[in-house]
């Protein structure tokens, strides 16, 4: 039986993280009451005109530099015409002939190695409004808050070969945009959406099959499911002696299948032409250089550096390098700890990675480009520095952290107020150990008869009596000595 290979190209729409819309001053904030973030321009009222948002163009150019594109010196907006109630002007302002970014690509990390996915272009365009069908009235309701929100459309070459690769590409692309500060990549809020072009061909063939466009695949899981479904569907068509028809299909996640939206013969003529309301933009070298300089360290490089310099495992680096604000926090905390406790950065990084994952991460909230942490990076580093200095032990540190968070106190303040400093005084520890040994003759006998596992019981008892403050090393030493005495 012939084996087939899938050929997949993706078109990703990512919302640019600007405060205001692409061609007017309306807010882009998500979640406002319907039709409260609108003006004559984004409602397409007669006479209203677009005025380009420089911040959006700058972010889109930064995205181009982050993805290795050639960023244009001359770029232009075109009108793409079609009628739909969610498209207020009857055309979308987009880019056709002179897109802002061309070329570039992304090297996707896969379990079996890497795959280079080339990009065709990244252009700037405005979003449409959001329509919803109201079952009660049978009416279609339109919310124009989203109309005019700035997007980049990132078009890949057909370089992906499987649903897994497509998913990996999307996740990595989202991470790049997130770290570059270009887009928050929030799928739930619709700021990262995907369409796919899929065809199949006999394995080994170099020609492209008839492609089908898949719409409405707006989660990583939908992408995998929809592509897998479509590849199976096309294989079944071909094996059944049929031919794949060029069409646009829409994915229905509830039913786990796609349905034809329109065929090739119904393909729209969008009647593109240069938007006469928007003169071409000339971007000079200084401006372009500034955009290039804004591109920060990207996630793949950052995670490699975390593993190399901050003593992290690949998994630590993946978890803590998942979000730029989290990565910045961990690195700040690790560097502060290294400085305060005079530790090598690798050692401080490893300790910080462990503490953050075990004690902090569940209380971290990530939203968009922002993150909020229960305590500051400096405060966390100071807490761990107290452990390094022997002032408190690790267990106490764990108890101090929530107090710091709840009461907004420094670690040192909590330790001083609650008298939590570690007891390392051997006289006091000897006394505690003697009390415990005297109180548990049966266990002492067990220990002395060779049941060494009972040592842990004694450790626990002594620590408990010290309210956790005893230096565990000193306790261990004293216990060993006293239990050895016959």
């Amino acid at each position: 039986m012939t084996r087939f290979e899938a050929v997949i190209g993706l078109e990703v729409h990512a919302q640019l993280s600007t405060r205001t819309k692409l061609f007017c001053g309306c807010s882009t904030a998500y979640g406002a009451a319907p039709n409260t973030q609108v003006c004559p321009t984004c409602l397409g009222l007669p006479g209203a005109l677009p005025a380009p948002n420089a911040a959006a163009i700058a972010l889109a150019a930064r995205a181009g530099f982050a993805l290795g594109c050639t960023v244009a010196r001359q770029t232009r907006f075109d009108r793409k015409s079609y009628f739909y109630p969610d498209l207020p002007k009857g055309y979308q302002i987009s880019q056709l002939a002179l897109p802002l970014n061309e070329g570039g690509g992304l090297t996707v990390q896969l379990p079996e190695g890497e795959r280079r996915v080339r990009l065709t272009r990244i252009h700037v365009e405005e979003d449409a409004a959001k329509s919803a069908h109201d079952a009660a009235s049978g009416a279609t309701l339109v919310d124009f808050n989203r109309a005019g929100v700035p997007l980049v459309e990132i078009v890949s070459e057909p370089d992906l070969r499987s649903p897994d690769e497509a998913e990996a590409y999307l996740r990595q692309l989202r991470d790049v945009l997130l770290f570059a500060g270009v887009s928050d990549g929030n799928l739930e809020e619709g700021s990262f959406r995907c369409d796919a072009n899929v065809s199949i061909r006999p394995l080994g063939s170099e020609t492209l099959g008839t492609r089908v466009e898949l719409k409405n695949i707006n989660s990583f899981r939908f992408v995998r499911d929809a592509l897998a479904y479509e590849i199976r569907r096309q294989e079944a068509v071909v094996r059944g002696g049929g031919e794949v028809v060029r069409e646009t299909r829409s994915w229905n996640p509830e039913r786990g299948e796609s349905a034809s939206m329109r065929g090739k013969e119904d393909a729209e003529d969008y009647r593109y032409f240069p938007d006469p309301d928007l003169p071409p933009l000339a971007l000079d070298d200084a401006w372009l250089a500034a955009r290039e300089a804004e591109v920060p360290e990207l996630p793949t490089a950052l995670r490699a550096r975390f593993a190399r310099d901050l003593g992290m495992t690949a998994e630590d680096a993946r978890v803590l390098g998942a979000h730029p604000a989290l990565a910045r926090y961990v690195e700040d905390a690790a560097r502060t700890l290294a400085a305060e406790a005079d530790l090598p950065l690798g050692a401080a990084g490893k300790k910080m990675a462990n503490v953050v994952q075990a004690e902090l991460l569940r209380d971290v909230t990530l939203h968009g480009h922002e993150a909020s942490f229960p305590v500051s990076a400096a405060a966390l580093a100071a807490l761990l520095a107290l452990v390094e200095a022997g002032t408190i032990n690790g267990k106490i540190a764990k108890a101090v952290l929530p107090v710091m968070r709840d009461e907004g106190l420094t670690a040192a303040a909590v330790v001083a107020r609650d008298g939590l400093a570690q007891v390392s005084d051997t006289g006091a520890i000897d006394a505690l150990v003697a009390e415990v040994v005297a109180a548990h003759p049966a266990q002492v006998a067990q220990y002395r008869s060779g049941k060494r596992a009972v040592f842990g019981f004694f450790m626990g008892q002594v620590m408990k009596r010290s309210q956790g403050k005893a230096n565990p090393g000193a306790v261990k030493e004293a216990l060993t000595a006293q239990l050895a005495q016959e």
Partner: protein, 474 residues
């Protein structure tokens, strides 16, 4: 001087009288409202008596409070009804905007108000500014006040007629292919199409965005210059508005033409009706008497301007008018499905608008775009170059504004090509985005006025006012 006499004396005279306290804004506005109320020519679509009185009283109150009165203090104006006026219906003479009340003022309207002008009425026009006779208005044609059996020209026919009939001393029109200049010529008043980008388009219901310019109409060159001085200047909300400095336009009307070289379009004079040509030549004679010199110039590609314009402007219009879909404003026809709703709603466009939407849609079809739209753009570039070459030899280019005087209503009914010929002389400057002024040149055929058109390089409006004031002394 009485309020009636002051209004007749014009924009500047009325404003000075208000500034000096010789007449109140309210008195001027009451006279204008009375005249607007008698509108016998279909020039107006809406009279805003309440808003006008309130604005006049506000001008008076500001003056009493010691505020500096603006350049248009208390001057009643009519505004072409394709310019948005906050709280006042704006229909652009189409059924598809019937009943629509804009929530904002066009930038030019806001600037007029800030200068103390009082908006008394919205002027009739060809539907969506598409036409050269003001006959295509969905709300009835405009008649020429000089001869009611004739058209006033178009599309700003209501604005020109309002000024010619003395309803207001000034008005705003819009000019896409000649829509300020040609009606100004037909009605015997002064009309300016400023340089593209000189005046903000924000709030102008778009017809062809790369051509549309808002322009003033008045009885004198000086008044026209004063209006431009208030209207002009960059607008952050119009990306095509220009940063060029706003100059002393009104002073230019006093400067004379002693060093001016005037390029005469001989071919255009030959093509005009004899009476029109004779009056234009006489106007040129006044320039020569004042010291100007004449040279013959030629625009070799002007003969292609008409066909290029009637591809490019409809192409842009087909896109600009897509928003008139009955979804967010204007009347919506009812039909069982979305497509049907769009079709039934848009069936409300008049025949000329439909013709241009179809033409424009055709011009932008995939596969034909370069052949049609692209070629027309290249003609546009050539016409602009023709002017550059002409301006190497002269300061302004002169010729008739229109080849004929005002024609009878219905004369071109059913013959769009004949109607389009009315724009022959005004289109080249529109393609090139250049400033152009039409001044009355005197009575020609049937005693109706001819117009002299003067065209200058971009942003050289001052030259037009200097030459226009000499050619049309007041």
């Amino acid at each position: 001087m009485s309020a009636e006499r002051l209004l007749a004396a014009g924009v500047a005279a009325a404003a000075e009288a208000v500034r000096e306290g010789r007449v109140s804004a309210r008195e001027l506005v009451e006279v204008a409202l009375a005249r607007c109320g008698e509108d016998a020519h279909g020039a107006l679509l809406h009279v805003d008596a309440e808003g006008a009185r309130a604005a006049a009283d506000a001008v008076a109150a500001a003056r009493r409070a010691g505020g500096a009165p603006g350049a248009l203090a208390g001057v009643p104006l009519a505004i072409k009804d394709n310019l948005c006026t906050r709280g006042v219906p704006t229909t652009a003479a189409t059924r598809l905007l019937e009943g629509w009340v804009p929530p904002y003022d066009a930038t030019v309207v806001a600037r007029l108000r800030e200068a103390g002008a009082v908006i008394v009425a919205k002027a009739n026009l060809d539907e969506l500014a598409m036409g050269s006779s003001s006959e295509t208005s969905a709300f009835g044609p405009v008649r020429n006040p000089l001869d009611p059996s004739r058209v006033p020209g178009g599309s700003s026919g209501g604005s020109a007629a309002a000024v010619a009939a003395g309803m207001t001393p000034g008005a705003l029109g819009s000019d896409t292919g000649g829509s300020v200049r040609q009606p100004a010529a037909f009605c015997g008043v002064v009309g300016l199409k400023p340089t593209y980008g000189r005046v903000s388009r924000r709030g102008l219901v778009a017809f062809a965005s790369s051509f549309d310019v808002v322009g003033p109409i008045a009885r004198t060159v000086r008044d026209t210059a004063r209006l431009l001085g208030v209207m002009a200047g960059p607008d952050p909300e119009d990306a095509t508005s220009a940063d060029a400095p706003v100059e002393a336009y009104e002073a230019a009307a006093e400067e004379g033409v002693s060093t001016l070289r005037v390029g005469v379009l001989r071919a255009s004079l030959d093509a005009a009706e004899p009476g029109v040509a004779a009056r234009v030549v006489e106007s040129l004679g006044r320039l020569v008497s004042a010291g100007a010199t004449l040279v013959d110039v030629d625009l070799p590609h002007a003969d292609r301007a008409l066909s290029a314009y009637y591809l490019l402007a409809p192409a842009e219009a087909s896109s600009n008018l897509a928003r008139l879909d009955g979804m967010r404003f204007g009347p919506r026809a009812s039909a069982p499905d979305l497509r049907g709703t769009h079709e039934a709603t848009r069936a409300g466009f008049g025949a000329e608008v439909k013709r241009r939407i179809l033409l424009g849609t055709y011009a932008l079809r995939a596969g034909y775009r370069d052949q049609l739209y692209g070629r027309a753009q290249r003609v546009r570039t050539r016409v602009a170059r023709d002017y550059e070459e002409a301006f190497a030899r002269c300061h302004v280019v002169a010729g008739p504004t229109a080849p004929t005087v005002a024609f009878p209503l219905g004369a071109h009914a059913g013959d769009p090509m004949a109607m389009y010929q009315a724009d022959l002389e005004t289109l080249p400057a529109s393609l090139a985005g250049l400033p152009a002024l039409s001044v009355p040149a005197g009575a020609a055929e049937d005693g109706l006025p001819a117009g002299l058109q003067l065209v200058a390089p971009a942003f050289a409006e001052r030259r037009l006012f200097a030459a226009g004031a000499v050619a049309h002394p007041t």
